[in-house]
């Protein structure tokens, strides 16, 4: 099976009664995702299509059985509470789309998920998708053009840029096993290194594309992983922000450097030294992938 999700993953959606939440919940289901319940306090008894709504995660699980994963369309200031509601209910994979989670909340989310061995993907992410199987998040419905099923694992900090890069991957004749958006925040719940560990073990993934950018240390951690031999498949990396001026936040909250570390160039050097194929420009991704897989 693919990493993180597949057709059997039992999914609960929080915030599915809002306009955006209900649109994407419908789309998730249309793509084959096995959504078992929606949770919105005060709306128990209502339905979204066939989907029953419950007051709380615990009530949803009591009625519908345990959920494997949760998709959160919940505003940033309520995200910490929603994540803990899911963690406390024993849900082991949580994806949160919220853009703007307070930093200290994000740190607590990260700490709690690590402590319990659970995975929280995001915030500020489009989510995760295993094309042809399941989706937790908001990926295009013109999906076949950029998210064709295949054997390339993709992990990314971006949204639009991922559409751009992945379309290159598809144009080069490849498809995607799973795409995991770890999000653009300075404190993502799940880090590249953790996704990569799953890709390493995934028999359906032949190679991985990482779409990184300046700021933080996630790409450096991946370089360490490669250097230590913990990841053995080909890795193609694209790192945005090569020319970003120091001290400026480039859009994503996490895309900022100071004091010389965390720069895109530094990351690229570390990755190259560790054996990754590093694209200077997004357009090179497909070529490098073909080269890596000897096609």
């Amino acid at each position: 099976m693919s990493i993180l999700i597949d057709t059997t993953t039992r999914v609960l959606v929080m915030g599915a009664t809002g306009a955006e939440g209900s649109f994407w919940t419908g789309h998730m289901m249309a793509m084959g995702t096995h959504v078992i319940a929606a949770v919105t306090p005060g709306k128990e008894g209502e339905r979204i299509g066939d989907l029953p709504v419950f007051h709380s995660v615990r009530r949803a699980i009591d009625a519908r059985g345990q959920a494997d994963a949760a998709m959160l369309f919940v505003p940033p200031r309520f995200t910490k509470d929603a994540v803990f509601e899911c963690l406390d209910a024993g849900i082991r994979l949580i994806v949160t789309a919220a853009d703007g989670i307070p930093l200290h909340d994000a740190l607590q989310i990260r700490a709690a998920s690590r402590e319990r061995g659970c995975m929280v993907v995001g915030g500020n992410t489009s989510g995760i998708i295993s094309p042809g199987k399941a989706m937790l998040g908001m990926f295009p419905y013109w999906i076949e053009r950029v998210y064709k099923p295949g054997t390339i694992g993709v992990m990314t900090r971006s949204g639009s840029l991922t559409n751009e890069v992945t379309s290159m991957v598809v144009r080069a004749g490849f498809g995607v096993s799973t795409l995991a958006g770890v999000g653009g925040d300075p404190v993502p719940g799940m880090r590249f290194a953790e996704v990569l560990r799953l890709f390493e073990q995934d028999s359906e993934t032949e190679a991985v594309v990482m779409i990184g950018e300046l700021g933080g240390t996630m790409e450096e951690e991946v370089a360490d992983q490669l250097a230590s031999g913990a990841f053995t498949k080909p890795l193609v990396a694209f790192i945005g922000g090569r020319h970003a001026p120091e001290g400026k936040r480039m859009g994503h909250a996490g895309a900022i450097t100071s004091g010389g570390t965390g720069g895109a160039r530094y990351k690229m050097e570390r990755l190259r030294a560790a054996g990754a194929l590093v694209a200077e420009r997004a357009s090179q991704t497909g070529t490098l992938l073909a080269q890596a897989l000897h096609r």
Binding site: H104, R110, S160, N163, E164, G184, T217, R281
Partner: protein, 388 residues
């Protein structure tokens, strides 16, 4: 949101962290009379958010009110656009320490860094003498335990009474950092005075923008923006960065905009501004273009590849913006994603060429900017000689 030194020191006072006597001045004369009141010597410090003010000569010592006036005048007249100076008593100290609190994203914790040798950049010390830095990780759910503050303070090799005071300051700095959702709280240097007391020489505090809703006491000060346009963009919720080049980026998606910025520079162009109108702002084409035009760019480069940010809606907005704002410069569009076929129809109908390849779009924009520059150079009679 970075706080100015004087704002951070006001917070320090609130949390019982000792700071030097000092007041804020907006003119040289005011600085002089504050100096008089406080007593000599004083330090006059530019209140700016950029780093490196010391090296730029924007922190000056004065031994008399007259010197204070001169120093303040020089600082206020610098090209750093300094609006205010902090006039503070200049302290004689025995030693400079370092203390900070910042997030540890991997552990989901907070990190206390401390050193008995402050006054230098902690990044430099981390490279040159990491053994001089004490580190303690604070669990984010549990918060700082008193023993952690004591352990770090007593591990700095200070006298017992000094160590106790440092432990107390660590607890107070943590209270500030946690209570105000800071992403950084730093005291560098923390002066140890000859009488054994401790005083914060400088104060760096940055509040998490995403948590400002919990802290209505903070408001973005107009002086904190690079430009008026940046301030207006912030008010609108549009991510914006001011540069001084030729090409206005009007893109959707932070990662994509950053990648386009890289390509512009790769291909020899310069950026007038970074602007994102994706995400929740994808219906704000008119407002976005208005902000871009204010920079008098040589080209507006529009690149999108949206999922929720619908291409057709953005295209409609762009056409409307062009109609209303009649920009003087050419516009390059590379709009893809949800609804792109319709978007391309809309653009074509308005006489725009809908590109679909990002690199091609950037190359065209750079070429157009160069033509415009050459044209201007020709008009003004100046020559750009070497440029191809």
């Amino acid at each position: 949101m970075k706080l100015h030194e004087f704002q951070a020191k006001a917070l320090f006072r609130e949390y019982g962290i000792p700071v030097p006597r000092g007041e804020l001045a907006e003119s040289a004369e005011e600085a002089g009379s504050i100096a008089q009141r406080i007593g000599m010597p004083v330090v006059i410090k530019a209140q700016v958010l950029r780093g490196g003010r010391g090296k730029a000569g924007l922190v000056r010592r004065a031994a008399s009110p007259a010197e204070a006036i001169d120093a303040a005048r020089a600082i206020l007249a610098s090209d750093w656009k300094v609006r205010r100076v902090l006039v503070e008593q200049a302290l004689e100290y025995e030693r400079e320490l370092y203390l900070s609190l910042s997030p540890d994203p991997v552990a989901g914790a907070h990190l206390i860094l401390a050193s008995a040798e402050g006054g230098v950049e902690i990044e430099d010390m981390a490279r040159s003498a990491p053994e001089k830095i004490q580190r303690v990780r604070v669990e984010s759910m549990r918060g700082l335990m008193p023993w952690q503050a004591r352990h770090i303070a007593f591990s700095l090799g200070l006298k017992t009474e000094t160590a106790r005071k440092v432990a107390h300051i660590i607890e107070q700095l943590y209270a500030l950092y946690a209570g105000r959702d800071a992403e950084l709280a730093e005291i560098n240097p923390l002066f140890l005075l000859p009488d054994g007391s401790l005083v914060a020489g400088d104060a760096k505090v940055a509040i998490d923008d995403n948590a400002l809703f919990r802290h209505p006491e903070f408001s973005q000060d107009s002086a904190d923006f690079d430009s008026d346009i940046a301030r207006e963009a912030a008010a609108e919720g549009i991510p914006y960065l001011q540069f001084d080049g030729d090409i206005s980026l009007m893109c959707a998606g932070a990662g994509l905009t950053t990648a386009v910025y890289d390509l512009v520079v790769d291909f020899g162009g310069t950026v007038a501004n970074y602007l994102e109108f994706g995400g929740p702002n994808y219906r704000k084409s008119v407002r976005a273009m208005e902000l871009c035009i204010r920079n008098a760019p040589k080209v507006i480069l529009i690149v999108t590849f949206g999922t929720i940010a619908r291409a057709d809606v953005m295209a409609e907005g762009i056409v409307e913006a062009i109609g209303r704002l009649r920009p003087a410069c050419p516009i390059v569009t590379c709009i893809r994603g949800t609804g792109e076929d319709k978007a391309h129809e809309i653009l074509r109908a308005a006489g725009l060429q809908p590109l679909t390849d990002t690199e091609e779009a950037v190359r065209i924009a750079v070429a157009l900017a160069r033509q415009a520059a050459d044209r201007e150079a020709g008009e003004t009679g100046a020559s750009h000689g070497g440029r191809a």
